[in-house]
């Protein structure tokens, strides 16, 4: 197994773990961590793609942008968690069912 296959495996494992986290966890914070893990996998895949295209510059620029956006989404999401916690008194997603359309 050469290096890039290892990287690819890491991407797949990260995204897989993140998706499992999204599907199976009921704790909002854990769901959020799942989203973050997926985002990390995607970021890694961008680096990989840039490396194989020979376009490390663009990959780097895009990855930095992704990290920045991730930080913002994480902050916003955490603030939403805080609001949800004030609203329902817990951090269980089942308690948010009242929001259904």
């Amino acid at each position: 197994m050469n290096l890039w296959q290892l990287y690819m495996l890491a991407v797949i494992v990260l995204i897989g773990v993140g998706i499992y986290c999204l599907l199976a966890r009921r704790n909002i914070v854990q769901v959020l961590i799942g989203i973050e893990i997926i985002a990390k996998g995607v970021t890694l895949s961008f680096i990989l793609a840039g490396f194989f295209q020979g376009n490390e510059h663009i990959a780097q620029a895009i990855v930095i942008t992704i990290i920045l956006i991730e930080a913002i989404t994480a902050a916003v999401a955490m603030s939403l968690v805080v609001v949800a916690n004030r609203h329902t008194g817990s951090i269980d997603v089942k308690d948010l069912r009242k929001l259904r359309g």
Binding site: I19, L22, V31, R97, K98
Partner: protein
């Protein structure tokens, strides 16, 4: 870097970067913050004015922005862009000065720093939009001003109608913006460049397929129709009148709504070869000018009358672009920017002092607000097009050029709209300033920070035509790809007073006199009563009703059927997302490999 480019970059960056510091300066005192914001706005206005001697052929300098995609930030200093920037900078500065007193009382309930930085961001965004020739950069600024418009319409967010009006403006213009973005991407794909002038060359060389060019042209029309509030996407502008009047005057009369007209003029050489494109543009403009002028006759809210008037005047500019009268459209853009900003600021002074927007409660204010009264007369005479106010020359030039270019049927609509313009202007004047005083409030003249901008703008709308020689001086030189011509003061007079359109002006003047001495009561009362003629006008041709019934409720009804999909359970929703994602990957594999 040339000095013109440096000034241009400073004029864009000073308001955008300096604006957020309002929050810091507010820590010193609220007064310091206001002074700081006004100083920034005046610095920007001075910078844009100092750009005028630097007008030169476009494409002078560009800076690399995205290396891999070959996107450049190119500063373009030709006659079109510099004057749009000057309107934004100078009227922005005057509106900021006016805000110091007008917005004072809002500070109890709302943050004024938010007001000032968003207004400054808007000024910078508008200047940036005007001064670049790269379509992607232009789109970025296009969105910046769209955001500022949305945010400032909803400025008084405790009022129940403010936030929905902002959302409406955002969604309706979004329909156009998507068309504009699609047009940019199609052009990028078809012509291989994002720079307007390179695209013009590519289209001139015949290397662009007509189908793609047509799609892009339709997208650009959609963008301009959304931003410049043309029929059928004009519905957001009258509702945007819940914004502070200074913002209405700056954004929804003088600057933002010009962006669409500017875009059409800028992209005219790209699409003019299509044949249907100019015809579509001229008809959109003429129909809008006519319909909006008729609706303005029946409105009672002083700002909504002016809003429909703005839509109507923008229709003239759009029609001028479609009819090939690019210079006339840009001249009217500047002239309209001045007198409509003036009229809105006058309306603001009246609203501030009389405490109402409803013209039924005004009346007889001319005696108490002498400066506002005279400034309003100047603005209205310019709007109606009476010599020698600038509005006469610019509107006359549009109609005379359309006549020369043989665009007769839309011209007839525009001429009828001119008479309606006279009627609603007269009605606005009479209901507001003459007759009996109908308000109980003790009215007096507005304070100096409010009347000084009024007087400056009134003088400008009276005398701007004197600067026609320097205004058009570098037109031909700086815009070789555009059908524009040089015109000096003597020629302007000669053209304006010898073209057959002068008869229209004469009839309008007679109409005003007849209104004043004969039909005074009937003009005011006719459009108050409901009749078969006035009902469509009072309902604004049911455009809003149509959108509500068919589109809004239709979409709601359609998506109601999918309610059951929303379990409200995060994990189930995630399962759905993952299944959709896997399905997408499978589809891509089947198609791609």
């Amino acid at each position: 870097m040339q000095s013109g480019t440096l000034i241009a970059i400073l004029a864009i960056l000073i308001p955008i970067v300096g604006g957020p510091f309002c929050y810091l300066v507010e820590k010193i005192s609220s007064r310091a913050r206001t002074v700081y914001a006004v100083l920034l706005a005046f610095a920007t206005g001075a910078l844009t004015l100092s750009l005028i001697p630097h007008i030169r052929q476009a494409n002078a300098e560009s800076f690399l922005w995205i290396r891999g995609l070959n996107v450049n930030v190119s500063i373009c200093l030709d006659s079109f862009s510099v004057y749009v920037a000057v309107v934004a900078g100078c009227i922005g500065a005057l509106a900021m000065l006016y805000s110091t007193r007008y917005m004072e009382e809002a500070e109890h309930d709302y943050s004024l720093s938010r007001y000032y930085w968003q207004a400054l961001l808007f000024i910078g965004g508008m200047i940036g939009l005007a001064l670049t020739s790269n379509l992607l950069v232009m789109y970025v600024f296009w969105e910046v001003i769209g955001f500022c418009s949305y945010a400032l319409i909803g400025y008084y967010y405790h009022q129940p109608e403010a936030v929905p009006a902002g959302t409406k403006a955002f969604i309706v213009t979004r329909l156009g913006d998507i068309g504009f973005l699609a047009g940019i991407l199609i052009l990028w794909f078809a012509a291989g460049s994002l720079n307007v002038f390179e695209i013009i060359d590519a289209v001139g060389g015949g290397s662009v397929s007509p189908l793609l060019l047509g799609l892009a042209g339709a997208g650009f029309i959609a963008g301009a129709v959304g931003k410049s509030a043309q029929f059928p996407l004009h519905v957001w502008l009258p509702d945007a009148m819940v914004a502070p009047t200074t913002i209405t005057s700056l954004i929804h009369a003088a600057c933002l709504v010009n962006a669409g007209v500017y875009l059409l003029a800028r992209s005219y050489p790209i699409f003019v070869g299509l044949g249907w494109w100019p015809v579509a543009v001229v008809w959109i403009g003429a129909v809008t000018a006519f319909l909006a002028a008729t609706i303005a006759l029946t409105e009672w809210d002083i700002k909504r009358v002016l809003a429909y008037s703005t839509i109507s005047q923008l229709g003239y500019m759009v029609a001028a672009v479609g009819g090939g009268a690019l210079m006339a459209s840009q001249f009217h853009l500047v002239s309209h920017g001045i007198f409509k900003a003036l009229l809105f600021l006058c309306a603001g002074a009246i609203i501030h002092m009389a405490g109402t927007k409803n013209m039924r409660e005004m009346g007889g204010l001319g005696k108490y607000m002498k400066i506002t009264h005279i400034c309003s007369i100047f603005g209205l005479l310019s709007l109606v097009g009476i010599p020698v106010w600038t509005g006469f020359f610019s509107k006359d030039m549009i109609m005379a050029n359309l006549l020369e270019n043989g665009v007769i049927a839309p011209l007839v609509l525009l001429i009828i709209a001119t008479f309606f313009t006279a009627a609603y202007s007269w009605r606005l004047y009479w209901l507001t300033f003459r007759g009996k005083k109908r308000t109980k409030v003790k009215v007096r003249e507005a304070p100096y920070p409010m009347t000084v901008p009024l007087m400056v703008l009134a003088l400008a709308t009276f005398l701007f035509w004197i600067f026609i020689t320097p205004y058009t001086g570098k037109m031909v030189l700086s815009l070789p790809q555009y059908p524009v011509s040089h015109i000096n003061l003597a020629e302007l007079f000669h053209h304006s007073f010898t073209s057959p359109i002068i008869w229209v002006t004469l009839l309008v003047a007679i109409l005003l006199v007849v209104f004043t001495f004969r039909w005074r009561a009937s003009v005011v009362s006719t459009f108050r009563d409901v009749s078969i003629v006035t009902l469509p006008l009072q309902r604004a041709y049911w455009v809003d009703t149509f959108y509500n019934r068919i589109i809004v409720r239709g979409l709601f009804g359609f998506w109601q059927r999918f309610r059951r999909v929303q379990t409200g359970d995060l994990n189930y929703n995630n399962v759905g997302i993952v299944i959709g994602f896997i399905a997408l990957i499978i589809i891509l594999f089947v198609w791609g490999i």
